[in-house]
Symmetry: C2
Subunit: 574 residues, 2 copies
């Protein structure tokens, strides 16, 4: 492609709402253009990157034995009623009506559609397993679309759905998909981790996420400094630390702690290690049919992990509770503890506190705390006491597998694979006849990749302060031949010739033949992020051209008559 | 691909609402599955055909210099207000609201979107010409979705939009696109015609349609029996026939024609050649802001062409007028004529009647006609008399180019190219600076191909009473190796070996390794429409396999050790 004909116009200024590098550079590089909040047009360069990613995914999915389909984007509302998601899904599901008043939704995901497709054809275990995938449009009406392609409303997703006769076969496919995903993200040249993950709104019995590591990631990932343990903080585990409190109390006693409300204040006041205190976190839990005040108790040195907390009580969401709401529920802000808590209040205690003794906690009474409390002392607690893993793993906690320190790093979720079981097939009455002629619901898995999001994730991981640094495999062009001065006939002739030769080798090459200053061309090369530039400039008359490596910033002078072979060799190696 | 693993299940019965061959066979063959009226899932076979078509289109569009983009499917309503189409488009445009009440539309076409994209980057004539295309989802909320993929609501369209500095450059691109389209449809192995066409709702100054010839087509195409003239009946022209009426009347006179209302009745009653009569067709014309009764006058031997009629008066649509509505407007059904017609009635006279004389027509009075009327006699007509080409060309009319007889054939519109001019750029204030630094609106063209519709059109043209007969270029598989009896080891071994060898040659091959009877496999081969079958059956033990040609139904016995080379040769030739 000739740059002079390419529909690509770079901008000097970043849009005001763009804060992440991928958002800034995709807009400045003219890869995409915002149409509305979270909705983008893809200009030619953006489309090429998208297709590169799509091709890699398609090839590996086909190799795995999955078959590509195209499910309708507009799906009937009735299908969503069969699983109950018509109501449960919330406002991200955009519900629409056609001219005749029939109700539809814009597909945010396609479990219902694919179950409907499969149940109409598949009747016997002999037809299983099946894995159907698509690379298709999705729409989620995000409350706060942001960060460009990272959290858009209209986006491209690869979604696959597998159908099995039993859990064992699902496990096999789940592992196959994990391997397939590893191949896909490796081929794209991305640094990623596979982590244990929460199954969230999709449901099911197990899931793993694929995280592209990047400082700007929205997800916290817990990784072991030694072994291969890795998990999203939403589900990360740690080794329980057992420590004995050096301070022993004979009995449980109330102590006067005037105006000491935070863990720090109380522990300092009483001269106690915060490890031996209980922190109360009050939330307003939102359920399908009600809202309720719930108290979560964790160690004074821990923080509450909200996804764990939500799952512990089966809530749809957790919101902050106001001081007024806390008081109205009968609680005393700053002095809440598990002992003597009002009997109508639901509360959950972190697993790590299960056998803990000699603790300090709120006395549920203004200006008083309790000392020497032990959670073994069951009769002090209400009947509803439940223990769950609700604390957030923190840097320095110990690996649940090998006991070595854990680290926390940032990641961008680009893939998620789920064991769904019969969560969708059962309510949709999608069954097959097993070996004994008995009808059973399909056992399902589902496997997603954020295709357009991958463009952004790749940039978040691969950029500098000048622009994008594309991994070669997904770059829109791999070589950018820059003509230093298009008025110089020798430069034009040499560049054109090299351009044709590289094209004939199926190398993705751009010829910057624009009537622009050299500085403009180099800036665009750096902003747009092509892996290599060949600079055909003044030194050509001495038989020299320069090759620039965008990632290393290395500048190599090469004899002009050797540059073609040099590039061919280099592209093979790198 | 092995048939035993392919997600494809054929059906014996056609769905009740399926009447066209493509609809019947696509559903029976398991290529697609209906989700809702005019909305379909594409199963793997359907997706492969779609991709084959997409690949051919992409390759030729890229070769032509057009650049692929991906415009958003959800587009802001405000863009559609800029051109006025937000209101004008009618109910096919599905208007939706997001969770915040912002208004959007589901893209039925993307003129507004692409103008918005281009105006934000292109400021100078130096950046022109540009041709941007996409192969993307569209939605039109058709009042009567029907015929499967022929008239769906959700569908895939290739839409391209070009931008130019003047009409001359648009003409060049328009011709380039015509040539590109010819290459595309030729490569697909389709028999098609390029015809003059109506520009319809898109607007602009000229357009051509690409019609796949098929008996089941919805469009009537007028083609010359001699020269290359071809046009959609909506715009087809003919040579005006000049005949003199042998019966001469001295003066215009009213004649009593009791109860003679039709042309046939009147002409028989008066002993007159219907060629010398005027037929009145009354319609209710629907405009942006009103409805109105309009009378169209054509020769007694002609019929009204509704699209021509609609365009003649600039109406959005024409509906039938009830007898009551006709009477209410002051007209006398069965006796309507141009002379003495109520002065408030708008009427249009066909061009062919412009100089005609000695005619019979209604007298606007019950049971009376007029004889000897001449349309030269202007003072007999109202002031509003307009002449337009509103008659439908019929079989046997004469070619406007060469004068030879015209024929009428049926076609399916699969492509349409338009000269838009500034119809969209002007209202959207999308301008560039020309050579003199003067701001001018872009001169535009647009170019559509019905991508998913092409699947159906190909079948309408290529089928028999057993099923589909795919053109090789778009067939999901070109060779279907049928194992006669999977229990016979020699058959399985031979077939597997041939399958691997053909795959290695990049031949699209399916191995029917299912545990099904031979008859089932042959029926599926015929229904699914693969170009060739290789039958590995009983004769294999004598060193013979059979090759079947789906189109010619030819059966060729080939020595088993020569079949690979034979097929390679055959696929190269055909």
């Amino acid at each position: 492609m000739r740059f002079s004909r390419l529909f690509c116009y770079t901008l000097k200024e970043a849009p005001k709402d763009a804060v992440t590098p991928s958002h800034i550079y995709l807009i400045r590089g003219g890869y995409i253009k915002q149409v509305a909040a979270g909705i983008y047009d893809f200009a030619p360069l953006g489309k090429i990157v998208l297709d590169n990613i799509r091709d890699i995914i398609k090839k590996e999915m086909d190799n795995s034995g999955a078959q590509e389909v195209m499910l309708s984007f507009i799906t009937p509302y009735e299908l969503w009623e069969e699983t109950g998601r018509a109501k449960k899904y919330g406002d991200e599901l955009l519900r629409i009506e056609d001219r005749k008043g029939n109700k539809f939704v814009l597909s945010p995901t396609n479990e219902e559609s694919v179950v409907d497709l499969v149940r109409s054809y598949v009747k016997s275990y002999k037809q299983l397993p099946i894995n159907l995938y698509q690379i298709n449009l999705k729409f989620r009406d995000e409350a706060r679309p942001r960060f460009g392609l990272l959290r858009g409303r209209e986006f491209i997703m690869k979604d696959a759905y597998s159908f099995h006769k039993d859990e064992e076969d699902l496990d096999r496919e789940f592992n196959l998909m994990e391997e397939t995903y590893k191949k896909i993200f490796s081929k794209m040249g991305l640094d990623f981790r596979v982590v244990e993950a929460d199954s969230g709104a999709i449901g099911g019995s197990g899931s793993k996420e694929f995280m592209v590591l990047a400082n700007t990631g929205e997800d916290d990932i817990v990784v072991c400094s030694k072994c291969d343990y890795a998990a999203n903080i939403e589900v990360a585990k740690r080794k329980t630390i057992k420590k004995e409190n050096p301070i022993k109390t004979e009995t449980i006693e109330e102590v006067y702690t005037p105006n000491k409300k935070t863990i720090e204040e109380v522990c300092e006041f009483l001269g106690i290690d915060p490890f031996f205190s209980i922190k109360a976190v009050v939330k307003k839990a939102i359920f399908d049919d009600k809202e309720e005040i719930v108290v979560f108790f964790v160690r004074g040195t821990d923080t509450l992990e909200e996804t764990k907390a939500k799952n512990a009580i089966g809530a749809i969401d957790l919101a902050d509770a106001s001081e007024e709401e806390i008081k109205k529920a009968g609680l005393v802000p700053g002095f809440i503890g598990p002992f003597g808590i009002p009997s109508n209040i639901k509360y959950v205690i972190d697993d790590d506190l299960r056998m803990a003794e000699e603790l300090v906690c709120g006395a549920n009474k203004k200006d008083y705390h309790i000392k020497g409390a032990g959670l073994l002392d069951a009769n002090l607690l209400g009947n509803l006491t439940i223990y769950r893993d609700i604390a957030a793993v923190k840097e320095g906690d110990l690996c649940p597998k090998c006991g070595k320190p854990l680290k926390i790093t940032k990641g961008i979720e680009v893939g998620h694979i789920f064991k769904l079981g019969d969560v969708y097939s059962k309510p949709m009455n999608a069954t097959f006849l097993d070996e004994n002629g008995k009808a059973k619901p399909f056992i399902m898995g589902c496997y997603g990749i954020g295709v357009s999001r991958l463009i952004a994730a790749a940039i978040e991981q691969n950029h500098d302060d000048k622009g994008i640094i594309w991994p070669k495999e997904i770059a829109p062009f791999v070589v950018d031949i820059i003509i230093g001065d298009v008025k110089k006939e020798n430069q034009v002739k040499f560049a054109e010739n090299l351009y044709e030769k590289l094209k004939n080798e199926n190398i993705k090459v751009l010829l910057d033949d624009r009537k622009e200053r050299f500085g403009v061309k180099i800036n665009d090369f750096e902003l747009l992020g092509f892996p290599y530039a060949v600079i055909v400039g003044k030194k050509l008359k001495d038989g020299i051209v320069e090759i620039r490596d965008r990632r290393s910033d290395e500048k190599i002078e090469v004899k002009s008559n050797e540059v073609f072979d040099f590039l061919k060799e280099k592209l093979k190696k790198d």
